[in-house]
């Protein structure tokens, strides 16, 4: 009886040891994957930030002002040129 218990315990021990190794291995693999995905996400976020920055730089008020006035020849309508519609 005791022998049987010892044998079962020994087998269980070996199985759990293998389980630990396996879990550890899986953890590593998943962590590597997580890191890769996170890096991908970060890269995308960073790219997004860069694009936002680029857009904001192009849309800089002073630049828009200059382009509208000089290149497109736009101007703000004088009071007389605005038509007020009575409600």
């Amino acid at each position: 009886m005791t022998r049987l218990i010892v044998a079962v315990l020994a087998v269980a021990c070996v199985i759990s040891a293998i389980g630990v190794v396996y879990a550890r291995h899986q953890h590593r693999e998943l962590y590597v994957q997580l890191t890769r995905l996170e890096r991908e996400r970060d890269e995308l976020n960073i790219e997004f930030g860069r694009l936002q920055l680029e857009q904001a730089t192009w849309a800089e008020s002073n630049r828009i002002d200059q382009v509208a006035r000089t290149r497109l020849g736009m101007k703000f309508p004088t009071a007389g040129e605005i038509v007020v519609v009575q409600p």
Binding site: G49, Q52, L53
Partner: protein, 611 residues
């Protein structure tokens, strides 16, 4: 084992028999050796299983490294989500000088790749021979593409690390409000400093395995995830801000003034919609010089508010019941004594009513009103409007202003206070006090964050009196007032000009500060604006350096745009329609008469003649 007596041995004289127990000795030796073995095993077990931390740590230290995960600072946007400050990744190149120093070929390659002079780089490295870390000169925070190109050469001992740099796409126009960060990404000025905790991320940490060259071979474990900084939505409207900045710049160029500020508050919530100052600086490239331009004048500079104080004096008089809007005040002969000095008006306005005192900005008028008020009451009234204490906006370096308590007033102080001398305030304080007049007497706390208003406004004045003062201030921008140039077509404007003389060396110089503080539209005020133009050119003479001449049109130009941008419905549509009808009639006349000579003369015909 047994010793056998050999036959040959007996030929000699037989040796004495061994007097020791061989077996016991053998057992002893064997036992000792076994004990040694056991001790080794025990020690091995101890090291492996029981007390393994120390050597494990030593072993890990050989290849496992804890490296920080850099994280970015939160973005700052304006109230519509337009980015005002963005962190973008850059690379910093660093090197191990020990490794480089005995590898001249590597230095040569590095010099070639970075474009640095070889002798300079060699000297730079040899000076740091005993260190393990140095930044590659002039390659801290460089464009990632540049760094990648250099890293692709795989020069031994040269590494790159990611850092984040702050970019401010709007540049000078918003620099005072935003402030800037230092090279370690910590807020140094402005909103960047005030909300540093909020914006700053927490760098994470992870375990990695590194090889001999320090390259990361494998990511092992995450110790702490990186927490990126939180974004911040400011109350600033980028478009109004730029408009204010552009118009302020134009005014400063036209008038030769030294500096200026514009503050625009949302009347109901106290949100700062725009705050522009000149001279300004580019916070993308902060250098140590010209510190003067770094100041956010609108909250740090203390100025005597001059005539912009008068509506408050009148409000105090109305509240105390010593005057009514129709009280007659005799300002003859245009001056009155104030101790050894004299309070005088621009010219003699004769008999005015209370409204007229505001319309004409009569110093004598408000002086007579304030004489009817007890000292403590006048003092308490102004303190209720936030003078003498910080506005609570939380902006770093905000000045509370100076406002002496009645015990420290000299004989002349009360009278000078009534028209804005003898105390000093910030432009933001003026804008806030005016916002209270437009907000039914409720004083709000200015805030730089969208939706950041505390919501609890303090009732500083009876709503009815606030409305009366608004009506009086409206006359200032109507014909006969001091600020007809502040009028905006289609809107009623309430405001007050101010032309304060600058104190210098114990007296007052012939240099001025031109103010205009106003609210628009009068019916349901949205914006409280304070315009300050400091030290304009006075050579034009007359009133060309005054608030009505310089600051009022600046106010009108900014507000015309702001009202349109914020979709504020006009409250004076009749005037607008009339102006439009006049314009149409003029055009019809110009088109109807074909003769060019007459057509050219048409615009000269009086506009008012049209129906």
């Amino acid at each position: 084992m047994r010793f056998v007596r050999t036959p040959g041995g007996s030929a000699k004289k037989p040796r004495a028999r061994a007097q020791f127990n061989l077996r016991a000795r053998l057992m002893l030796v064997g036992g000792a050796m076994a004990l040694c073995g056991v001790a080794l095993v025990v020690r091995a077990v101890d090291l492996q299983l029981v007390d393994n931390a120390f050597y494990q740590q030593k072993a890990d230290a050989r290849f496992l490294r804890e490296v920080p995960i850099p994280t970015s600072r939160g973005m700052i946007t304006d109230r519509n989500g337009e980015p005002l400050a963005v962190s973008s990744p850059v690379e910093s190149l660093y090197a191990n000088p020990q490794e480089l120093a005995d590898n001249p070929a590597a230095i040569e390659r590095l010099a070639e790749a970075t474009g640095l002079p070889l002798d300079y780089l060699t000297r730079y490295v040899s000076q740091r021979k005993d260190k393990e870390f140095m930044y590659v000169p002039r390659h801290r925070r460089v464009n990632p593409a540049v760094a990648q190109k250099i890293m692709a050469l795989r020069i031994p001992g040269v590494f790159s690390q990611r850092e984040f740099r702050r970019f401010y796409p709007q540049g000078e126009a918003v620099s005072h409000v935003l402030g800037f960060t230092n090279i370690d990404d910590q807020g140094q000025e402005g909103v960047e400093l005030a909300f540093d905790e909020w914006l700053r991320g927490t760098p994470g940490a992870q375990k990695v395995i590194r090889d001999r060259h320090g390259r990361i071979v494998e990511h092992v474990d995450l110790i702490r995830p990186a927490e990126p900084g939180k974004d911040l939505v400011l109350s600033i409207d980028r478009r109004i801000q730029f408009l204010a900045y552009r118009e302020l710049k134009r005014t400063l160029l036209e008038t030769g003034a030294a500096s200026g500020s514009v503050v625009i508050l949302d009347v109901a919530t106290g949100e700062v919609l725009a705050m522009a100052n000149l001279p300004s600086y580019n916070n993308n490239r902060v250098s140590g010089e010209n510190r003067d331009a770094y100041r956010n004048r609108a909250v740090t500079d203390l100025l005597e508010p001059g005539s912009t104080m008068k509506p408050l004096t009148v409000a105090a008089g109305l509240e105390a019941g010593v005057i009514t809007p129709t009280t007659r005040i005799d300002t003859n002969p245009g001056w009155m004594p104030n101790g050894r000095y004299r309070t005088s008006d621009f010219k003699n306005y004769g008999l005015l009513d209370t409204t007229g005192v505001i319309t004409k900005s009569s110093n004598v008028g408000v002086s007579k009103i304030v004489r009817l008020l007890p000292d403590t009451q006048f003092d308490a009234f102004l303190r209720r409007f936030g003078f003498g204490s910080s506005t609570g906006s939380g902006f770093p370096g905000e000045a509370p202003g100076t406002f002496p308590s009645p015990g420290r007033w000299s004989g002349t102080t009360k009278q000078t206070l009534s028209y804005g001398y003898g105390l000093s305030v910030t432009p933001l304080q003026i804008a806030r006090a005016y916002a209270a007049l437009g907000n039914g007497g409720r004083l709000v706390t200015p805030t730089f964050v969208k939706g950041g208003g505390t919501g609890t406004a303090q009732q500083a004045l009876d709503p009815e009196i606030a409305a009366q003062v608004m009506q009086m201030m409206q006359t200032v921008t109507e014909p006969g007032g001091t600020a007809t140039r502040a009028a905006i077509l289609g809107y009623h404007v309430a405001g007050k000009t101010g032309t304060a003389r600058k104190s210098s060396g114990g007296g007052y110089a012939r240099r001025y500060i031109a103010y205009f503080a106003g609210l628009v539209p009068v019916d349901r005020p949205r914006f409280s604006v304070t315009v300050v133009v400091n030290d304009p050119d006075t050579s034009g003479g007359g009133s060309t350096y005054g608030g009505g001449w310089i600051s009022a049109p600046l106010f009108a130009r900014i507000m015309e745009g702001a009202l349109r941008l914020m979709d504020v419905p006009p409250d004076d549509i009749q005037t607008w329609l009339a102006a439009q009808a006049a314009e149409e009639a003029r055009r019809a006349r110009a088109a109807g008469v074909p003769a060019p000579a007459v057509a050219a003369a048409a615009p000269a015909s009086p506009r008012g003649a049209a129906p």
